[in-house]
Symmetry: C2
Subunit: 201 residues, 2 copies
DNA sequence: CGGCGTTTTGAGAGAGCTCAACATCGGTGG
DNA sequence: CCACCGATGTTGAGCTCTCTCAAAACGCCG
């Protein structure tokens, strides 16, 4: 979800880069939001600490994803943001963003549209996680992400990344893909998966 | 997430009720969006049909949830909406909504804020689904949804509903809650769960 | 060549799912 | 008031599937 689509130039001009070491905090619960962040590289996890002192991870965001959208509309962060690896981020000042939305209705609408799309994407991923079977989960993914031809998907990262996105261990995914390929359901060639025939119901 | 918060009166006035029989389509992929819907009762599933003719369910929406947010900003629906049971919906004309946002900046911002909150909620639920252990999933839920005192949660619906929200079978949830209560970790009294002590790591 | 991360395959165990039976509760009507 | 009924709540037993731990082949880069 590249944000270059909807971020007005006036805001993009005010963006600043920020680097975090692994384990460093971008912000803490209770801090006042001053910026909105896009992750360029690395991972940042959003988490809360419960009464017992245990960390509850809410989300792990990767490259291309944004965090703290909702905080744009609230006065404090309601969770911590901690780098899970060395990470670089782009920070967009909250004030500049809100000002831009106030002046530029198109920008505001584009931002809203982006959020609406995110909502639908997240719902789709949520539905996927309801599927227990690794094979059906892969099928669901292929059905949702198939390209224009409706039969092939190009993977962005490694298979391990793919496994994480599917919420499976990489071993389970390897086995599942191998099994589907053996059964003639899919074909794999370096980062691309093609649906060969309908899975037997 | 009651939408009464952000829907301006001018739009609410234009809302119309609509009833669907089980299996009836609310809209089909490719249709032009004319309305934005809130589900009052029943279930509506969003799905696509892949080349092989198999239905891929993207999401199942229940009472209180809204569908087709993103379609407000696009010219065609990109999935089907089909009633999974007898359902009643409230329809808000797309044109009225957009017009209201254009006139009333507060309404537009409120809508955006609602979407932003939804994004965060969905991310939280997504993270929860990454947790395999039923017990840890319950703990995560309690940690996230604890009330002001940080130790108690009041369930809205039945335990079966709770199980569905957690993505567990109701049997697994019964057993887990019983086990946690037996171990002195929580206390249950009709629809309310209280955290008694920190779970042993 | 040597090291590191990804990909792949193996074996075993645990945890939740499935099927099944039963208890409980609230509403409905005779 | 009681019998009936459906839905929720509860417990039992077995099974399947993924996770976990382990190890080896493969590819890439210094």
């Amino acid at each position: 979800m590249p944000n270059h689509d909807w971020l007005p130039a006036s805001v993009r001009a005010k963006a600043s880069e920020r680097k975090l070491k692994s384990g460093a905090a971008l912000f803490r619960q209770g801090d006042r939001p001053v910026s909105f962040y896009e992750i360029v590289t690395g991972r940042v996890r959003l988490s809360r600490v419960d009464r017992a002192g245990r960390e509850v991870v809410l989300y792990v965001a990767g490259p291309g994803e944004t965090i703290a959208e909702a905080s744009l509309f609230s006065t404090v962060y309601h969770c911590d943001a901690i780098a899970g690896s060395a990470a670089t981020l782009r920070a967009f000042p909250k004030a500049a963003l809100l000002a831009a939305f106030d002046k530029d209705r198109k920008a505001a609408q584009a931002f809203t549209a982006t959020l609406a799309r995110q909502v639908m994407n997240l719902r789709t991923r949520l539905e996927q996680r309801n599927i227990r079977s690794a094979r059906d989960r892969v099928r669901h993914y292929l059905g949702v992400h198939a390209g224009a031809d409706g039969r092939s998907v190009t993977l962005r990262g490694t298979l391990k990344d793919f496994a994480a996105e599917l919420g499976l261990t990489h071993e389970a995914l390897y086995r599942t893909l191998a099994g589907m390929a053996r059964g003639g359901e899919i074909r794999r060639d370096r980062g691309k998966i093609t649906l060969l025939r309908a899975p037997k119901v």
